[in-house]
Every structure is written in structure tokens, then in C-alpha cells.
Assembly symmetry: C2
Homo-oligomer: 256 residues x 2
């Protein structure tokens, strides 16, 4: 094997219970690793779906308690959506980017663009009235998990809070990072040279999104119950970013 | 370990030579696996960067032989780009989606949207005059590699020809599939139920893009020279798609 060989291992953590408000995610992670006979290593990355972070943080809302305002009523009529869900979408959004029957694409208060503000009606407590909103501050959620794991194990690991997003131009959801701690969110490769010593031109990598998409291959979106994925072997540089590094300002967005 | 445990292994193949026109990529893959002491298994996925596929297929063009037409001259003036490169961009594109200084975002003749039609000036033979265009038909390239590996080893593997794209809304390139053979390009999870038996609503996964992004963590974009990545353990269903499955028709694109 020459020095170019490298490999990563990606493992869905087993035995994760149904998460409830107040549950201790770092302890759940450590219990699962223990079950696997594994210990954390500095440089590992853990990808945690936003769904269980939201549940642990009590971001579950009962639609029967939501009073839709006038704008929500109007938009719900136009999109034929539940006005109570539209009300929550509006509360979670900076602006509506696009609307159509059954769809609201919004700029989320966290900064990214997504359908229905990431509000989730699946896998939520078995009731049609319960919906799950994204964590209030996923970068902070990631940092809290990272700190707790460092205290418990003495290791420095990267944490990504992931979500699954649709996107322009291409079919199908991919994994994206909406919270990052202890690792880079984007990698700036400018200044690196290619095989012939020429400086690379387009060389910013959406690094945490790549890791989130890798994990997405194991978490799936259905009944598999594998919301935490360990990625080992990445060798990312010791630069800590946040998910906000991944959100492009509209005036700098040549693809939009 | 319970039945939910699963893991994937991702390995950058070592010892890949600088690829030239006419080189036999399946043989290069087999030689590298042999060097690692590994053999292909049915269900493996191999991600091959479009760059080496293009090189092997002779998609290298010498700018000194390119005569820019009137439209290329005009667009080159507006974008301050090399008119010969703009000429090649136009030849490779169905239409210009967006232009700005230094940038042309186009709908590629293959169907996707990308900057500069995927034309590559880095890592190309050490000359400033040589540029590399994408393969003529990357789905067919993938299928040829798959067939050859099946003949040589008796295994059915999935092949992805990958590229690295920028995207709307988010910072940084990610890996995408521009050619697919022997595996799904998108996975339709509709009809699967969530943990509470409710049917999932948004559940189309950009599967081959997830795998391409996973590989992108190892190929990098600089001087690492690791253009082929083996992904083992995916357990994708036996459905063969093509990269065209991943291109969204503009009239169905609610994010655009």
C-alpha cells in the first residue's frame, strides 16, 4: 500500500432508544459504542439526525394548540396545506421563497433554504397531531454534545447535526449539516496545487455536507431507527466551523 | 449487536497511474485491488472521477485549436473569460442559465446544471492550453466499466462516474453522479412506513449522489491522485438506474 491509500469506516450505532424530551444524547451515544465494544477516538465524526436532537430538546408541538394567523390561513388556502402547519412554517422562517400546491420552500430562520421549514410529521410519537420542529440552535446543540463527550472520554470529536433536504436542479434528498462543532463545515482548498503544481481554482468543499450525506446512506428515512452514525478515518484539519459557513448569501449565489 | 447495525467501508484505491487516452480503466481498477489484496464483491460500488474517464476517452482539447465563434466572443467579453473556453462551454451546453464575471452556469447537454459545463483546466497534462471536457456519455462509460469488471470477475458491481459541483443556496462543492450503471441512481422510499406505521411523505433519496459525495471525502480535489473509490457494504436494491434519473425537469423544480 502506498501513502495515498486511505479509507474511512462508517457505522450506524445500534440500540438507540426512541428519544424523549430530556434524554441525554451523549450518554446514549456512549452506551451504544459500549455495546459495539468501541471507544471514541479524537478525529472521529459523529452525525446525529436533527430529529433526535429536536426530540431531546422538546421541539415537539401539538397542532391542536396552534392558532393559525391570517397569513397562515391565506397561504394554507393557496397551498392546500394544514393552516396550523403553515403557521409553524411561518414562525420558523425568514421568508417564503416559493409556494405551490402542497409545498412551501422557505428561507429558514437558521439561514438555509428548505421545504416546509424542516417541520417533520413522521416518526413523531404516533399521533397525527404532533409535529417536530428543528432544534432552536443546532450549532449550539452540536457543541453541547461535543463538550459532554470530551468530558466523558477525553477525546475531541467532530459533531454534525444532519437533516435531509431536497434541492434545486436534481432529484432526491441528500444529507446536509445544519449544526457543526469541533470540525470544519467547509474546507477551503484554494492554494493547494494540483498534480502539475497549478493552483486549483474552484476548490471549496462543502465538507460537513459530504459527511452528512455519507451518514445518510445508513440512517435512511424510514423505519430503520439508526439516527446516529460514526465516521472514522476522515483526518479533517483542526479547524472548527459552524453550519452557518455553509449558507450562501443570496447576493453571492450564482446558481440561484 | 442488533439487526440495525450496519456499516460501510470506503477505500481510495492506491497506485492509480496518470491516465492517458486509451488506458484500460477496468484493468487499472483490478491491478489496484490486487495491490490491496482485495477482490470485488457483488454489491460493491466503485466511484470513478469523471476526470480519469474523460482522459481515458480522449476528451482532452488543445485551446490553440479552438476557434471561438461570435457568441463565444460576446460572452467572453461580458464574463472576462477565455473566448476559446467559452466556445467549448457553448458546444457542451443546451443553454446558459446564468452569467457573471468569471462564471457561466449552464444546463449541460447531459442534463444537469453546472458551472463552466464541467470543463476542467487543472491536472491536465501540465499545459495551460489543454482542457478536459466531460465524457460524451458517462452512463455508457459506467456501463462499459461494469461489463468489463463482470466479465473479468463474475461480480455485479455498481459504477458511478462522479463530478464535483457547486450548488444553489449552499457554500462548497459536493460530489454528484453524472454516470451510473448497475445500481440505483435514486431510491424511492415512498410506501415505506416510519416507526409508527405512517407512510413517509418526502422520501426520494438522491442515492448515487450520496455515494459520490462519500467518495469525494477521499478523492479530494487537489494533488492526492486518488480518483477511484470503493464503497463496500451499501446493500442497495437490485435496480439499475442512470444519472438522468437525478436531473429534475425545470417544470417540476420547486426549488429553482
Amino acid at each position: 500500500m502506498d501513502s495515498f491509500v486511505s479509507s474511512i469506516n462508517v457505522t450506524a450505532l445500534p440500540g438507540i432508544p426512541l428519544v424523549q424530551q430530556g434524554d441525554d444524547l451523549p450518554q446514549i451515544i456512549l452506551n451504544s459504542l459500549n455495546q459495539l465494544g468501541m471507544v471514541l477516538e479524537t478525529g472521529d465524526a459523529l452525525v446525529v439526525t436533527s430529529k433526535i436532537v429536536s426530540k431531546s430538546e422538546g421541539r415537539l408541538f401539538d397542532l391542536r394548540n396552534i392558532e393559525p394567523g391570517a397569513e397562515a390561513q391565506r397561504l394554507a388556502g393557496e397551498t392546500r396545506k394544514d393552516p396550523r402547519i403553515v403557521e409553524l412554517v411561518l414562525r420558523e422562517s425568514l421568508k417564503i421563497s416559493r409556494q405551490s400546491v402542497g409545498v412551501l420552500v422557505v428561507q429558514h430562520r437558521l439561514g438555509f433554504v428548505s421545504a416546509n421549514a424542516g417541520i417533520d410529521q413522521s416518526n413523531v410519537d404516533g399521533s397525527d397531531d404532533m409535529v417536530l420542529l428543528l432544534p432552536l440552535d443546532p450549532d449550539a446543540s452540536a457543541e453541547r454534545i461535543r463538550e459532554r463527550l470530551r468530558e466523558a472520554t477525553g477525546t475531541d470529536v467532530g459533531i454534525i447535526i444532519s437533516d435531509s433536504h431536497g434541492r434545486p436542479f436534481r432529484v432526491g434528498n441528500i444529507g446536509v449539516a445544519i449544526g457543526v462543532a469541533g470540525m470544519p463545515a467547509v474546507l477551503d482548498l484554494r492554494g493547494k496545487t494540483d498534480l502539475f503544481g497549478r493552483e486549483l481554482k474552484i476548490s471549496i468543499q462543502g465538507y460537513a455536507d459530504l459527511v452528512a450525506s455519507t451518514a445518510n446512506l445508513l440512517t435512511g428515512e424510514a423505519d430503520e431507527g439508526r439516527p446516529i452514525v460514526l465516521v472514522r478515518g476522515l483526518r479533517y484539519p483542526a479547524q472548527a466551523g459552524t453550519a452557518k459557513d455553509l449558507y450562501r448569501a443570496p447576493e453571492q449565489d450564482l446558481y440561484r
